[in-house]
């Protein structure tokens, strides 16, 4: 090595590999208006489609008069179920093993359901024509409450399932019942409850809401009749799965279908599912031979695609008088709406709700979930969450608080004495998961210290005394949460979507001059994959991140993968990337050995080069190896430098964190002022701290929205009450809190680079932290449970019901 060779640290820094807060490569185009989102696509001859939607939540369709619509200049067709039936496309399978109407087949089951698809030359003509389609409805009784739906005389919603006592997830016990899913040991849990010192019991409702990305769902379908190839661009979080579904539904071979996810304007789970608009656009393109664009408007989006949550969680938690938890029981009534279109791995009809023992060492537990049909939109997607983990975390973190009240204990201390200890990992939970790693006590102590927890409690006590003395009308709430996530779905042996194992993939090509192209089965929706996956490869291969191009989302070029949702990209595709990088390095080592005329084992890896052990001046850089791979005949080696890896994770990863929210509540107005929000995340190895912090800010803000005001509610008639941004709460910069982020780092022992995933943690942990703060403010007045969202009116009502306005 001579004086001109930069030292190791300088070379490593120049790579911008793992651990670097590398600026994002995506930003140059997004900041200059040069992104390419699906609605930006313009094609010669492109036409437009839009839906006529049901005004009613439950009605028989007696007739649809399309004459006036068809008379609008530029209208080409109005498709109905009868037009799709000969193709077998008037119904489609859902991700949950149910089926869903593409267009209303005789009846409608929720407000906003698709009845007819109008196709025309311009958007304006299509909008005009949709208004002119006359639907003759016969109203039917509406059920929006899942408990009423399960009553003996409840209206039959799914007539197509008449007489079917078995569903894809076992027995159906009622005509509006979908499944019962049970985990754990029910008799043992009930025995513990019966003999416990203390049992706290509560119904915890996690209300229905919606991911609501700023870009709605949409697609452009283009059937090329000359070469028989169907190309579809769309807002797909899982493009390969869409290709497989499209092939199974249409009979077109997968080799003749190309699915492309261009830039996606946020997903948050909304864009995982397959929606009627995609099917209708494909059919319309096949019929007309022209590209067909379908883009939702905001009302379509909020009313019809992909709600989240809507879980009624009845809990019982048992403990000793000293506060050691001895058992947990939960029965959940899950409102799935009109069709079971939940986006969960096949064997998990309630997702990973069974992570509901949380961060605690609970010896025995039981979870039962009943899925129920109602006259509400289908969906049940994981809104910034890994398959119902948010519901599970909210449930256990509320139950802990409720137990603390019952025990008259400090809720921070109650958590501490029940945490799974560091030496217990890998930890087998009572509901069947093997937690890979964790250090909860360290994180918790760090968090409590950072916010000066003791000081906050003292201040709260003073405030309470002042309130009772009539000196203030403000109360202070301290919201605690210690969450454990379960992400990175998942091991193929028990995780699949429509039969496709939930592995993921990476394919790398190193070019002769030492730069690289890597393609993955995932697709970024804002997570910055083009930036971070290049960092993983930079560290693994010694090629600077700036010389690595990352491509995703085109099924003609990317290797098969299950896509991006449930915080699975880094745990699964990130692992594939690292392992593909190691394959590159292994071959490069053989090349280097040949060039240096030494044995492979005589070389050691040094940031970006192979060095002959003990002879530092003799080395070959990765760049030199790449060139040699293409210009030298190396005995025993194929030319070229490429690798592919399909990664089947051996286990899930278990990120965790400690969040603490402090708020001041005006008892007379119900206004909650978030004074501070501290978020400590442990996502294992950190690839790009800047991006992690951004994910935490964003996820916590979605949590703030959900906890403090965002909902999709229905009236008794089944009218959707929150179908525009006038009444669906998305926080602005003005009310959004300021966040303080922190971290500990406990690498995953089974992941190639120790990374666990972070995108959803702040939503999973944030919702209980905000909600617990509201509850905590009123704890001394006897409040145990009040359902979210905690908007001003509901907080005012809590105060009112507790007699604080008298």
């Amino acid at each position: 090595m001579n004086d001109l060779t930069p030292d190791q640290t300088a070379r490593a820094t120049a790579l911008k590999g793992m651990g670097s807060s590398r600026k994002r490569v995506e930003d140059a185009r997004f900041t200059q208006g040069k992104g390419n989102y699906v609605d930006d696509i313009k094609m010669t001859g492109m036409i437009y489609g839009d839906f006529v939607r049901s005004q009613y939540a439950h009605a028989r369709i007696k007739g649809v008069d399309t004459a006036a619509a068809l008379a609008v200049p530029g209208i080409i067709a109005v498709l109905q179920a009868a037009d799709l039936a000969p193709l077998g496309l008037h119904w489609m399978p859902t991700l949950a093993g149910d089926k869903q109407m593409v267009l209303a087949d005789g009846k409608v089951l929720f407000q906003g359901q698709e009845i007819a698809f109008v196709v025309g030359e311009t958007r304006a003509a299509v909008a005009d024509a949709c208004e002119l389609v006359v639907v003759d409805y016969e109203e039917l009784p509406v059920v929006v409450d899942p408990f009423k739906a399960m009553a003996a005389g409840a209206p039959v919603l799914r007539e197509d399932l008449a007489g079917q006592t078995k569903g894809p997830h076992g027995d159906r016990i009622h005509h509006n019942h979908i499944f019962r899913w049970e985990v754990g040991d029910k008799p043992a849990t009930e025995a513990v409850l019966a003999g416990a010192d203390v049992v706290a019991e509560e119904m915890v409702y996690y209300h229905r809401t919606h991911p609501c990305p700023l870009e709605t769902c949409g697609c452009v379908a283009s059937m090329d009749k000359i070469n028989g190839k169907l190309t579809m661009w769309g807002t797909f979080q899982a493009p390969h799965v869409v290709r497989t579904v499209a092939s199974l539904l249409s009979g077109i071979p997968e080799s003749s279908i190309r699915i492309v996810s261009p830039d996606i304007g946020g997903g948050f789970g909304n864009k995982v599912g397959v929606y009627p608009g995609y099917v209708c656009a494909i059919v319309a393109s096949i019929v007309t031979g022209r590209p067909v664009k379908w883009i939702e408007d905001r009302m379509d989006n909020l009313m019809a695609t992909a709600f989240a949550r809507d879980y009624w969680m009845h809990g019982k938690i048992a403990a000793t008088a000293e506060g050691k938890i001895t058992g947990l029981w939960c029965h959940t009534t899950a409102d799935h709406g009109a069709f079971d279109a939940c986006a969960d791995p096949t064997k998990f009809p309630a997702g990973f709700m069974s992570i509901c023992t949380g961060s605690y060492d609970i010896p025995v537990a039981y979870l039962g979930v009943d899925g129920v049909y109602t006259n509400k939109a289908p969906g049940g997607v994981a809104y910034r969450c890994s398959f119902r983990v948010t519901e599970a975390a909210y449930f256990i973190e509320r139950m802990i608080e409720i137990l603390a009240i019952k025990l008259n204990m400090d809720a921070a201390e109650l958590r501490r004495i029940n945490f799974i200890r560091k030496d217990q990992f890998p930890y087998q939970s009572a509901l069947g998961w093997e937690y890979d790693s964790g250090d909860y006590h360290t994180a918790w102590d760090k968090a409590l210290k950072a916010v000066n927890y003791t000081g906050l409690r003292a201040e709260q006590a003073t405030r309470l005394a002042d309130f009772k003395a009539g000196k203030t009308r403000s109360l202070m709430g301290i919201g605690l949460c210690h969450f454990t996530e379960i992400v990175g779905a998942g091991p193929v042996k028990n995780c699949d979507i429509l039969g496709m194992g939930m592995f993921d993939s990476c394919e790398i090509r190193i070019h002769p001059t030492g730069s690289a192209l890597a393609r993955l089965g995932t697709i970024s929706q804002g997570q910055g994959h083009a930036t971070t996956f290049a960092q993983i490869l930079a560290t693994e291969t010694g090629i600077p991140a700036d010389q690595i191009t990352i491509e995703e989302g085109d099924t003609d070029t990317a290797p098969y993968g299950l896509g991006t949702y449930g915080s699975r990209s880094t745990p699964v595709a990130g692992a594939a990337t690292a392992l593909a990088g190691r394959k590159i390095r292994a071959k490069a080592q053989m090349i280097a050995a040949y060039l240096l005329e030494v044995h492979d084992n005589d070389l050691e890896w040094d940031v970006d080069r192979f060095v002959v052990k003990g002879v530092p001046e003799r080395f070959k850089t990765m760049k030199e190896c790449a060139y040699a791979a293409y210009n030298q005949a190396i005995p025993g080696l194929e030319p070229g430098l490429e690798a592919v890896s399909y990664y089947d994770p051996p286990n899930m990863t278990y990120p965790f964190g400690a969040y603490i929210c402090v708020m001041d509540i005006d008892v007379d107005t119900g206004v909650a002022d978030i004074r501070s929000f501290y978020a400590l995340d442990d996502c294992g190895t950190r690839i790009n701290p800047m991006i992690i912090e951004g994910q935490v800010h964003g996820g916590a803000t979605e949590a703030y929205a959900i906890a403090m005001g965002q909902e999709v509610a229905y009236d008794e008639m089944g009218n959707c009450m929150n179908s525009t941004l006038m009444d669906f709460f998305l926080p602005t910069a003005w009310e959004t809190p300021h966040y303080t982020t922190d971290h500990t780092e406990t690498p995953s022992p089974h992941h190639p680079i120790g990374a666990k995933g972070v995108g959803e943690s702040p939503n999973v942990g944030g919702v209980p932290a905000f909600s617990n703060a509201v509850h905590d403010a009123f704890r001394s007045f006897g409040l145990t449970q009040s359902h979210m969202p905690h908007d001003h009116w509901r907080i005012w009502r809590i105060a009112n019901q507790l007699g604080l306005h008298e």
């Binding site: 994002r24 991006i691 800010h697």
Partner: protein, 162 residues
Amino acid sequence: MKKMHIELTVNGQPMETLAEPRELLVHVLRERLGLTGTHIGCETSHCGVCTVDMNGKSVKSCTVFAAQANGATITTIEGIAGADGMHILQSSFREHHGLQCGYCTPGMITRAWRLLQENPSPTEEEVRFGMAGNLCRCTGYQNIVKAILHAASEMSAKEAAE
């Protein structure tokens, strides 16, 4: 519906097109003039992803009729960068990680561009209030606010130096 002749000055260039009077400015910009940097996110003028600058004011182009915009001077995200490259706001959004999916970003930057002309050295509170018409689902605003405050000080420093 009979089309009308619309003339606009967009990003310094005179442009003309035929459009139905009921067409929205955002549709004219995106579909007729090919300026797809301006996005659509709602129909109720809440989200702000369609924000453009019209005659010196920020407007939500989904609630302006093409007919109302006739004769106007418009700046869109495509007109923010100068001949010498990205505007300070654009580089500051990148530097401070003020964007993720990028969908709100053009509206955010176009609004911030006007905000900093209205108030060249805003406080954090003034930035948060002045940007409240633009929603973001990804960032939680913290880094957007940081990016705008940083751009403001950098722009002031640059002006003082000139």
